[in-house]
């Protein structure tokens, strides 16, 4: 972890993202101001079309805002060129997608190694770290399996291992349980709780209240604006699920 602890990891100031022009102008994100502190576990909720996915793309540097200022770990990302944006995504952000987005016909180990390849980590070190990450998500015995040979829950755990292997400052998850059955969902959420308990910063986009219940802070979005901002647990405390395990939760 770098930087002073009081500096927000995510710092959005009056950020907007619009699509189209004139009559068809759409404000996907409309003047959002948001700070996320290191170690927080934030759930962003809202119906489809509320702008939560666009916000995740802005936070993840996959897309650029139309207006406003965004500092990721203190860096104004708009000033970065393509190469530097790739690097900042590689170093500072770990992505977990709804549909896993593993590279097909490529083993779990190679998938997890991939961000380290782009970071220029030597092969031996890469393998060691990838193996450790896979062990952490409980897939040490599946390293040579390709995505087609893994269940949805296992694929998502590989994706989480891939997201965490570079030790990014934030883990960004977009509907991480959207394509999973309830058992696999619980496994994934339990992993997130573990990561949060270890001090990782997590931002999870979801429309399921059950997923949001795991977060320390819940944002409600509507029409591109943040409607409500509730805190369920302090930033430096363990996530709520580890304090009051809900009934039926495998822990």
């Amino acid at each position: 972890m770098t930087g002073p602890p009081d500096r927000p990891v995510i710092d959005l100031r009056n950020v907007s993202k619009t699509y189209g022009v004139g009559e068809t102008l759409v404000h996907a994100v409309d003047g959002v101001t948001l700070q996320v502190q290191r170690g927080d576990y934030v759930a962003v909720m809202g119906p489809s079309g509320s702008g939560k996915s666009t916000m995740m793309n802005l936070i993840g540097c996959l897309d650029a805002q139309t207006r406003g200022l965004y500092r990721l770990d203190g860096v104004d990302v708009r000033l970065l060129d393509d190469r530097q944006q790739s690097r900042i995504r590689n170093r500072k952000i770990g992505f977990v997608f709804q549909n896993f987005n593993l590279i097909a016909r490529t083993t779990a180990l190679s998938n997890v190694e991939l961000p380290l390849v782009y970071a220029g980590v030597p092969a031996r070190e890469r393998r060691r770290r990838a193996l450790a990450a896979l062990r952490e998500v409980g897939l040490a015995d599946r390293i040579e399996h390709t995505p087609a040979q893994l269940s949805g829950g296992q694929q998502q755990r590989v994706a989480i291992a891939r997201a965490m292997v570079t030790e990014p400052v934030i883990l960004l998850a977009d509907e991480p349980t959207g394509a999973l059955d309830s058992h696999s969902s619980e496994e994934v959420l339990a992993l997130f709780d573990q990561l949060s308990a270890h001090g990782r910063t997590l931002v999870v986009i979801t429309h399921e209240a059950g997923v949001a219940a795991h977060a320390k802070r819940v944002l409600q979005m509507h029409d591109g604006k943040i409607r409500s901002d509730e805190r369920n647990a302090p930033v430096d405390a363990p996530p709520p699920a580890l304090r009051h395990p809900p009934t039926g939760m495998a822990s």
């Binding site: 793309n57 993840g60 996959l62 897309d63 393509d82 190469r83 790739s86 690097r87 995504r89 590689n90 170093r91 992505f95 997608f97 987005n101 593993l102 590279i103 097909a104 016909r105 490529t106 991939l114 961000p115 390849v117 782009y118 970071a119 220029g120 891939r162 570079t166």
Partner: protein
């Protein structure tokens, strides 16, 4: 990221869809192989013509009558002794005689000439032996000097001598094809036998060393006998078909030509403009033949290049399909930290690998095809064509790979990830 890592990704991309990669490589393979084979055919033709003309001797000169037609087209691929065989129409009272031939063998007036031989050609000769018969396309009557000029030697028996010539001896030398046709087997049993040429008895005293087949011309389907005997019994006492002469050295060929022209001009009372004979030397043939086969090679090579180009377009087509198909993969790679250059390198290397592997297979295939001998002709693999074909296929990979790779790299990660 290192080149080795990009190459590993590119290789994985290739092996992900093996049939498609193989078919794309096939396009390049055919292109490269056709460059090598077609240029090889051209080079082979060139070499074969050069060899044939060299076997006639580089310092030989041939004197033929000039027909009264303004131009007489001559086929440089046919040995000079075969043509102008007494087709008597359209010829003025111009003659090449035995005395012309004897006059050229004058060390005072023609110091550049070493040997001179008159050539009488009898056409429509059929050889028979015990019921076996064989039509001879070329029966040459000449002197012993002809054999030296033409590098003709015997594998069995002996050559005829000037004594045989003066004695009008009915002896002959046969080529291997004739011997095999008459005596069967390898033809060696023909030696010493008496055969009939158009009913006239001749004794086989020697079997000529095989000269092989040039194109469609079998150089061993021939008989050589003393000119005196051929005139007595087969050709009659008309004009000579030609006179062949050998210069003292290859460098003296032009001197020899000038001396021949001045001697014959004096005898025929002609000059440069009214000359009734033509002197050609093998260098003239060689240059003419070479320029023809060079054009031939360039033509074949450029045709083959077109097929290589088509193969290259195949590579580009497949790479564009690949980029479209793998848009999500590109999006994932960009999301987790691949830069533009990483994506370009990966897809460029994939295209280059496709075309280079196809190119190497094409070189091997082309080389193997060039080893096949078709009717005595074999293509010769020209090293420059291998280098050319390989570097061209590399260039094709780079050129046709760059556009799809740029397109892949310019995809926005967000659009690429959303792509279904």
């Amino acid at each position: 990221m290192s080149i080795a890592e990009s190459a590993r990704f590119a290789w994985r991309g290739l092996t992900a869809n093996k049939p498609r990669s193989a078919l794309t490589m096939l396009g390049i393979l055919i292109g490269v192989a056709s460059v090598i084979i077609l240029v090889g055919v051209g080079t082979g033709a060139n070499q074969s013509v050069t060899d044939t003309l060299n076997s006639l001797g580089t310092n030989t000169l041939t004197i033929t009558r000039k027909s009264s037609d303004t131009t007489q087209l001559r086929n440089p691929f046919v040995a000079p002794s075969v043509d102008a065989a007494g087709s008597g129409t359209n010829i003025r009272d111009t003659r090449l005689t035995m005395s012309d031939a004897e006059a050229l063998a004058d060390p005072e007036l023609a110091p550049a000439i070493r040997l001179v031989a008159p050539v009488v050609v009898a056409t429509r000769v059929t050889a028979t032996l015990n019921g076996a018969s064989h039509p001879i396309p070329s029966t040459t009557g000449t002197t012993n000097a002809y054999l030296s000029i033409n590098n003709d030697t015997v594998v069995a028996g002996r050559v005829f001598t000037d004594t045989d010539y003066r004695a009008h001896s009915r002896v002959l030398l046969t080529g291997r094809t004739v011997a095999e046709a008459l005596a069967g087997g390898d033809g060696s049993s023909l030696l010493g036998q008496v055969i009939r040429l158009n009913g006239k008895e001749f004794t086989v005293i020697g079997i000529l060393e095989a000269k092989g087949v040039t194109g469609r011309l079998d150089q061993d389907d021939r008989i050589i006998a003393p000119a005196t005997a051929v005139q007595d019994h087969l050709a009659g006492y008309g004009d000579l078909s030609s006179i062949v002469a050998q210069a003292v050295s290859a460098a003296a060929v032009n001197d020899a030509q000038a001396q021949i022209e001045s001697i014959l001009d004096a005898r025929h009372r002609t000059n440069v403009d009214t000359r009734d004979f033509t002197v050609t030397n093998s260098a003239t043939f060689l240059n003419a033949a070479k320029s023809i086969t060079d054009i031939f090679t360039v033509l074949l090579g450029s045709l083959a290049t077109v097929s290589l180009l088509v193969g290259g377009i195949g590579v580009m087509n497949i790479m564009l399909v690949t980029v479209t198909e793998r848009t999500r993969e590109i999006g994932i790679r960009k999301a987790i930290g691949a830069g533009r250059s990483d994506i370009i390198l990966q897809f460029m290397l994939e295209a280059v690998l496709l075309s280079v592997l196809g190119g190497i297979a094409g070189i091997i295939f082309g080389y193997l095809v060039c080893q096949i001998e078709i009717s005595g002709f074999r293509a010769v693999v020209a090293p420059y064509s291998v280098a050319l074909a390989f570097s061209f296929s590399l260039a094709v990979g780079l050129f046709f790979g760059i556009y799809p790779a740029m397109r892949a790299a310019s995809l926005k990660p967000i659009d690429a990830l959303r792509y279904e």
